[in-house]
C-alpha cells in the first residue's frame, strides 16, 4: 500500500485543504477564524501547502490592508482525494482485521 501523503496527513493542513475543497476561495482571516490557529502557525502551514503546489496564493491590497486569498489547485484536490481514498482503504482493512479477530 502506498504511503500516506505526510504533508496532508498533518491535521491542520488536512482541514485547510478540506475547507478549500468546498469553496472557490477563502482568505487568511477566514482560515484563522475557522481553525483557531495562531497567525504564525497558519502562515507556516500555508507556505508548505503553497510550496507543494497544493494551494494557489493571491496577495492584494484592500485599500491599505493586505489581503491574502487561497485557492486549492487541481494538484491539491487530486492529492486530497487520493489521501482520503488511502485512508478509507486503511480503515476498511482495519475493520476487516477486527472482524476476523
Amino acid at each position: 500500500m502506498a504511503e500516506l501523503d505526510r504533508l496532508i496527513h498533518e491535521p491542520a493542513r488536512l482541514r485547510i485543504l478540506t475547507i478549500l475543497a468546498g469553496v472557490e476561495a477563502v482568505d487568511f482571516n477566514f482560515l484563522l477564524n475557522t481553525l483557531g490557529l495562531t497567525k504564525g502557525n497558519l502562515s507556516s502551514h500555508m507556505d508548505r501547502l503553497e510550496k507543494a503546489g497544493y494551494v494557489k496564493v493571491e496577495k492584494s491590497f484592500n485599500g491599505r490592508i493586505p489581503h491574502t486569498e487561497f485557492q486549492i489547485t487541481p494538484e491539491g484536490r487530486e492529492a486530497l482525494e487520493s489521501y482520503w481514498r488511502q485512508l478509507d482503504s486503511i480503515r476498511n482493512l482495519n475493520t476487516k482485521t477486527e472482524g476476523k479477530g
Partner: protein, 250 residues
C-alpha cells in the same frame, strides 16, 4: 500509525458541507442588492404618484416635469444595474460586514463573477416593466392593489436567475417563493392585501417583508453553519494547533 489519524475528522464531507453551507448563507451581499431594488421601487412609486397627482390636478407643467424625472430615474437605475461601481459598492459593504469572519467565495464555477448579458438585459426589462406598471397605474389602466401580482410576473423569475447566478444559498429562494405565492393568493381573492387607502402597502410589504425574512433566515442559518463548521473543523485539532508537525506517519 500515530494518534494523528485519530485526530482526523471522521467524515471530511462534513467540513466541505458546512463550509459550502456557510459560504452560501452569507446574505449580506443579498441584503445590499435588496436595498437597491427596494430603493428603485420606492422612487418609481413616488414619481408615479407625483405624475398621477399632477395629471389629476391638471397641472401639466408639473406632469411633464415628473414624466421627465421618471425617465431620468429610469436611466439612473439602468446605470445602477449595470455599472461596475454598484458591484464594487456591494462588494465593499460585504467585506466590511464580514471583516472579522474573513472572505469566502462559495462558487467553484465562477458563476458569480460576471452576469451573462441576457441576465443584464432581463434586469433592464424588469425596470422597463415596472415603469410601465407605474404608468398604467398613473393613467388608471391598472389598479394599485394589483401592482404586486403585476410585479411578480417579472420579479420572481429575475430574482430566481439572480440568486442562481450569484450562487446564493437555499434561504435566498424564500424571497421569490413567498413573493410569487403572495401574488397567487391575492389574485385568488385570499384577504392578504391592504384595503384602501393603504393599497401601496400591497407592493411595499411583500417586497420589504419577504426579502427581509429571507435575509434574516439566511443570516441566522449562516451563524449556525459557521458554528457547526468551527466545531467539526476544530474537533481533535487543538492538541496539534501549535505543534510543529513533522511526525512520522508509520
Amino acid at each position: 500509525m500515530t494518534n494523528k489519524r485519530e485526530s482526523q475528522p471522521a467524515d471530511p464531507r462534513e467540513i466541505i458541507q458546512w463550509t459550502r453551507r456557510y459560504a452560501q448563507s452569507r446574505t449580506i451581499y443579498f441584503l445590499v442588492q435588496w436595498c437597491l431594488i427596494v430603493f428603485i421601487i420606492c422612487v418609481i412609486g413616488l414619481v408615479a404618484s407625483l405624475t398621477q397627482q399632477a395629471y389629476t390636478a391638471g397641472n401639466m407643467s408639473l406632469f411633464y416635469t415628473s414624466v421627465v424625472f421618471l425617465a431620468m430615474t429610469f436611466f439612473f437605475f439602468v446605470w445602477i444595474s449595470v455599472s461596475h461601481w454598484t458591484a464594487e459598492f456591494v462588494w465593499q459593504v460585504t467585506i466590511w460586514f464580514y471583516g472579522r469572519e474573513g472572505f469566502v467565495s462559495p462558487e467553484e464555477n465562477n458563476r458569480s463573477k460576471q452576469l451573462p448579458r441576457w441576465v443584464i438585459a432581463l434586469i433592464g426589462l424588469m425596470l422597463v416593466y415596472h415603469v410601465l406598471g407605474a404608468l398604467l397605474i398613473s393613467f388608471r389602466y391598472l389598479q394599485l392593489q394589483y401592482l404586486q401580482p403585476f410585479s411578480a410576473v417579472i420579479l420572481v423569475p429575475v430574482l430566481c436567475v439572480l440568486i442562481y447566478y450569484q450562487g446564493l444559498g437555499f434561504w435566498a429562494w424564500l424571497w421569490p417563493l413567498f413573493y410569487g405565492l403572495h401574488a397567487i393568493l391575492l389574485l385568488a381573492g385570499v384577504p392578504v392585501g391592504f384595503p384602501s387607502p393603504w393599497y401601496l402597502l400591497n407592493i411595499m410589504v411583500p417586497i420589504f417583508g419577504y426579502g427581509l425574512l429571507a435575509i434574516l433566515v439566511g443570516h441566522i442559518y449562516s451563524r449556525y453553519a459557521l458554528w457547526k463548521l468551527k466545531t467539526v473543523t476544530r474537533q481533535g485539532l487543538d492538541i496539534y494547533s501549535n505543534d510543529n508537525d513533522e511526525e512520522d506517519v508509520q
